[in-house]
């Protein structure tokens, strides 16, 4: 390990490649939105450049780490970097949960005339504040859709509960993997990691099935504030599980390469925390969307 106070990396071209990748992706995406024929392939090219950059840049960092270039000071910068990333993720989900709570506890009751909003009911006559609200109040003027729609209860002990059990099990298996790593039990570590990834992939499979059912039954992104918040929260959560599963796979690869030992495994700690976080977000979703 280097004795320097600060490790200054050599010059690198990865940031430029990353910028080219992101720019190409957005040029492609913008044109895709305008139905331009070359939009999709250009966006695909941009994403390919981005993935290439991620492999290259992370690969460089990993090689620097295992060659012993980093010291404690650099270790601290990684920990702070991960913490700020986590902070942004917490704020991201806090905003969507905030939207759910705000709509449910404040704005929908106000539209129904709660508190001192005595004039609100005149905006949409006949509107009754109910939750979940799966029609937009304005829809009555556009297509004559009634405010009240008949509901049927989702079988909460069906797919949502199975998915919760799956994700919680993956939380248990990654805790065992963490324990095995700290004790230096390599085979157990690899087995628990494979189990965690498998449970995560299974969760995603069931989630796609759940979306199929919900969409078939008429719950869409346009189904009022409930439909919007439901799909935004669960959709972004699913995206995070996908990213988490990819990160766990990379960590599994690095474990097999022998990159970690029982004392030095920050990359594992970062990914493990992320997986626990994604697990807690789902638990929050399960409780606040399906139960309370």
């Amino acid at each position: 390990m280097s004795n320097q106070d600060y490790y200054i990396p050599h010059g690198t071209y990865w940031p430029v490649i990353g910028s080219i990748g992101i720019s190409t992706t957005f040029v492609g995406f913008a044109n895709l939105m305008h139905d331009v024929s070359w939009g999709a392939p250009v966006m695909g090219l941009g994403l390919t450049i981005l993935v290439f950059m991620l492999f290259g840049w992370f690969g460089t960092v990993v090689n620097e780490s295992i060659s012993g270039t980093y010291n404690k000071q650099v270790d601290r910068t990684f920990r702070w970097g991960m913490s700020w990333f986590i902070f942004s993720e917490v704020m991201f989900f806090a905003a969507f949960f905030g939207a759910l709570f705000y709509a449910r506890i404040l704005s929908v009751p106000w539209l129904g005339g709660a508190d001192n909003n005595m004039f609100t009911p005149e905006l949409w006559e006949g509107f009754k504040a109910t939750w979940p609200l799966i029609n937009t109040p304005g829809a009555i003027g556009q297509g004559g859709t009634a405010f009240s729609t008949n509901f049927k209860l989702v079988d909460t002990w069906g797919l949502p509960a199975i998915n919760t059990a799956l994700l919680l099990s993956s939380g248990v298996t990654i805790t065992y993997a963490h324990h095995a790593l700290r004790k230096g039990h390599r085979n157990a570590l690899i087995a628990w990691m494979i189990a965690t990834i498998a449970l995560g992939v299974l969760f995603l499979g069931f989630q796609i099935t759940e979306y199929g059912h919900a969409y078939h039954d008429g719950l869409k992104l346009t189904s009022g504030i409930y439909g919007s918040t439901f799909y935004l929260l669960t959709g972004f959560h699913g995206f995070h599980v996908t990213v988490g599963a990819i990160m766990l796979t990379v960590i599994l690869y690095r474990i097999q390469k022998g990159h970690f030992n029982s004392e030095n495994h920050f990359a594992f700690e970062g990914v493990a925390w992320y997986w626990h976080f994604v697990d807690v977000v789902w638990l929050g979703l399960f409780v606040f969307v399906y139960w309370l």
Partner: protein, 70 residues
């Protein structure tokens, strides 16, 4: 019942936050703190899930999720 569920979720969030502090600190102490906090977090989460199942079975709590019927 709702209050109990929310209280457990707050403790789970606190454990997750405590694990983050451990990770940020690093070293042997930080690593221990992180592992113990994460272990507490998953234990509490599994407990909450089982509690929800039990409460639903006993009729103390009703699910809230709905789908429209045509």
């Amino acid at each position: 019942m709702d209050i109990i569920v929310i209280a457990i979720i707050i403790v789970i969030l606190f454990s997750l936050g405590s694990a983050l502090v451990g990770m940020l600190r690093g070293g042997k102490k930080g690593s221990d703190k992180m592992f113990k906090s994460l272990r507490a977090r998953i234990s509490l989460s599994v407990f909450l899930f089982v509690l929800l199942m039990f409460a639903s079975f006993m009729g103390w709590i009703e699910p809230n999720s709905v789908l429209p019927t045509q």
